[in-house]
């Protein structure tokens, strides 16, 4: 029996092509898109773009919050040049950033690789390791203050078991910043670890299989496959970690209050003090803009570098 199939008038093959959308439809779609974007745009305008613009205006003023502001021109920016505390805070922030970010990346990646070995109950381990990241920084900082107590604190007790006489971490000019960095790495590795785990899960298994057939060892596989394939994740974590590190504040305030001898005074802490303890709003705004510029420059450099170092698997 031969069956002849004839598409009816409403069959897909016979359907006339859709007419081009009328202006009214397109307008409606555009409007809907804008309406969906609106909450986010309003939030961005009110809480991000607005304050940045306001900081630009305030940076040109002498304003103590209570009295009417007076125009200062670029004087607040000129003051930065001779402000030793500002440069020292910038140096401390850079030290913190360039020590804590690589360490965080290494720890995150190592743990992600470990968890990616098909461990049983990986979800439990992943949740446990993510806990520090999910905990409020101030609470973590207070716990670490106790860990760092010179006599009887956990850190020095462990060190003494190895015959090491630990320092008074948070009051030592030499060790206060490394102590903050260690705490921050512990607090922050969870985020990178989760991003790396997602990146590792997206690497096709046949790449490793092919590499094994070609005689690659684990180290070569890691260098030639894992790292390049993971480079977008690494780039994302590096950019966000550097931005966050340049804004470090809570842990330094709680654990050392910027001391001893300004060794842990970070830029954001100095900006906060200038604005809300010294009531020098214009100068604080100028400092904020300089910080913004530093972060912007570093981020642009990173985006330039990613063209050469980051591999996207299209």
């Amino acid at each position: 029996m031969t069956v002849q199939t004839t598409a009816g008038p409403s069959g897909p093959s016979q359907r006339p092509p859709d007419p081009p959308p009328r202006w009214r439809d397109r307008d409606r779609q555009t409007l809907a898109a804008w309406l969906f974007l609106l909450p986010s745009l309003v939030g961005f305008a009110v809480f991000t773009a607005g304050p940045v613009l306001a900081a630009g205006v305030v940076s040109l003023l002498d304003w103590n919050l209570f009295s009417p502001p007076a125009f200062a021109g670029p004087r607040n920016f000129a003051r930065l040049a001779g402000d030793a505390t500002f440069w020292s805070a910038l140096g401390n922030t850079a030290y913190f950033t360039f020590a804590s970010v690589p360490l965080t990346i290494v720890v995150s990646l190592a743990l992600a690789l470990l968890l990616n070995q098909g461990l049983r109950r990986m979800a439990v381990f992943r949740s446990l390791l993510l806990l520090p990241y999910a905990t409020i920084t101030v609470a973590v900082a207070f716990v670490w203050v106790w860990l760092y107590i010179p006599h009887g604190g956990l850190v020095n007790t462990v060190l003494s078991a190895f015959g090491i006489d630990g320092p008074a971490w948070l009051v030592s000019e030499r060790w206060a910043m490394p102590a903050l960095i260690a705490m921050s790495v512990w607090k922050g590795f969870g985020f990178g670890m989760v991003v790396f785990l997602a990146g590792l899960a997206a690497i096709p298994g046949q790449l490793y299989e092919a590499a094994r057939i070609d005689g690659c060892g684990p180290w070569q596989s890691f260098r030639r496959i894992t790292l390049p394939m993971l480079s977008p994740s690494v780039f994302f974590v590096v950019v966000t970690a550097i931005i966050a590190s340049f804004q470090v504040f809570d842990q330094a305030l709680v654990m050392t209050n910027g001391g001893p001898a300004w060794q842990t005074t970070t830029l954001v802490m100095y900006i906060y003090r200038t604005a809300f303890e010294n009531y020098d709003q214009g100068y604080a705004a100028a400092q904020s803009l300089v910080l913004f510029a530093f972060i912007a420059v570093i981020t642009v450099i990173q985006f330039r570098l990613q063209r050469r170092l980051v591999h996207y698997d299209h």
Partner: protein, 436 residues
């Protein structure tokens, strides 16, 4: 009734919620019209009870609703700043004495001299002279005190008895030499210490005053920390930390707490204000207070306190209620509530009998303030004391830790301190111009 939530209804609820939140926030900005609004710091339920009693007293006296805004002391200045700037501050705001010049120089609070002069019912003479000094700036009164106190010396009498050492005189200040000798003696056994104080300028300054020195000269134009008198005071107290090892080791510059150290029961002396009496009563050992040790200039430790002030933005219409409220909050009746709660440092002489021992020697606080024994030095601060405190908090503790000789630390910070003094003078000049 349909269980599904339509988008329209969701949006409607969101809008209604937004409006309600806006209304609530608006309501938070100020109290009801005609209410006596006032703000104060409060750190514990016990303190909250004191302020609740104040509030009841205000309602009884003024016949209007009393609306106190209580905030933990750490966040109080920031909240007050925001309220002052946004015009939502209470009619009367509590202000720590060391911040009076800071706020006054910026025009945040209203001078009260005209109100004081026009109101014979306010007995200015009933307030201790020290509280009047603390509440003034540039020759004008910006606040009325509610508490004031000299720093005193707490001692663990159980520890004295245990060592067979006679307790110090309840009225006669010890000499520095005698004090140091005792501090060293009590530090001999392991895990026992002679003395504890906070490693910051608020406590160190008492030793400087007792040595006849100061942080700055009288005109507040230059730092005098490097002068021989101030150095003698600093050297003495730094010696107790770094040379004599008579103090508990500093674990952390942020959380170091002399009261917590003292309450451990293994510290013989603690430098602190009498406002800690109420907390020290939790001690599991016997203790009392005595006058601060006398240095070359005598027993003249820091005298500090707190006051109530009226924001500069208070309207003429609200001013009579604000003034009546200010007078009520600082009246003998209100301060008696304060005294009865164990706060033994009310700013008025007439309220000084409200508190009761323990400890037995509590009454010396009022006798010191009245000039009957020992002495005190009003806390000299500048319009940028936040910055000066911060500078000193960074550099001086290095000496207490034995990392840097105190002379070197002072020499290093003096140029920056002088810059801050000059900025303070700018603030003073600007404030004078604004007044004209």
């Amino acid at each position: 009734m349909s269980a599904t939530l339509s988008r329209r209804r969701l949006l409607g609820w969101a809008a209604a919620g937004g409006l309600a939140a806006t209304g609530l926030l608006g309501g938070c900005a100020s109290g009801p019209a005609g209410a006596a609004t006032w703000s104060m710091w409060s750190n514990s339920p016990d303190e909250g009870k004191v302020w609740a009693d104040f509030s009841t007293y205000v309602e009884r006296r003024l016949g209007v609703p009393s609306v106190p805004t209580l905030t933990p002391s750490d966040g109080y200045p920031t909240k007050l700043d925001l309220q002052l700037v946004s015009g939502t501050a209470s009619l009367v705001t509590a202000v720590n004495g060391w911040l009076v010049p800071t706020y006054a120089a910026r025009g945040a609070h209203r001078p009260l001299d005209d109100l004081i002069a026009g109101d014979p019912s306010l007995d200015v003479g009933d307030f201790y002279p020290a509280t009047r000094a603390i509440s003034s700036f540039g020759g004008r009164t910006y606040a009325i005190g509610f508490d004031v106190a000299p720093t005193v010396l707490y001692y663990n009498s159980s520890l004295f008895a245990q060592h067979g050492i006679a307790p110090p005189s309840p009225t006669e200040p010890m000499s520095w030499a005698a004090f140091r000798e005792l501090a060293i003696e009590f530090s001999r056994p392991e895990n026992q210490y002679g003395f504890t104080c906070a490693p910051n300028i608020d406590d160190l300054v008492s030793w400087i005053y007792c040595a006849g020195g100061n942080v700055m000269n009288q005109a507040q134009t230059l730092s005098t920390l490097g002068a021989p008198e101030a150095m003698a005071g600093l050297d003495f107290v730094v010696g107790l930390f770094a040379r004599d090892r008579a103090t508990p080791p500093i674990k952390n510059l942020v959380t170091e707490n002399p009261l917590a150290n003292f309450l451990q029961g293994n510290v013989a002396f603690m430098q602190n204000g009498p406002w800690q009496v109420v907390n020290a009563r939790k001690a599991t050992f016997d203790w009392d207070i005595v006058p601060f040790p006398a240095g070359p200039a005598g027993s003249t430790p820091r005298v500090s306190g707190s006051s109530f002030a009226v924001p500069a933005g208070t309207s003429e219409r609200d001013l009579p209620l604000a003034w009546a409220l200010l007078k009520t909050l600082t009246s003998t009746g209100a301060l008696d509530i304060y005294g009865r709660a164990g706060r033994n440092n009310p700013a008025r002489r007439s309220a000084g009998t409200a508190f009761r021992p323990p400890p037995a020697n509590l009454g010396i606080v009022q006798r010191i303030l009245a000039g009957e024994l020992a002495g005190g030095h009003p806390f000299d601060v500048t319009t940028n004391w936040y910055q000066i405190r911060q500078l000193l908090a960074q550099d001086l503790p290095r000496s207490l830790l034995g990392q840097v000789p105190v002379r070197d630390a002072v020499a290093a910070l003096t140029p920056r301190l002088d810059v801050l003094m000059s900025q303070h003078q700018d603030n003073v000049r600007l404030a004078a111009q604004r007044r004209r």
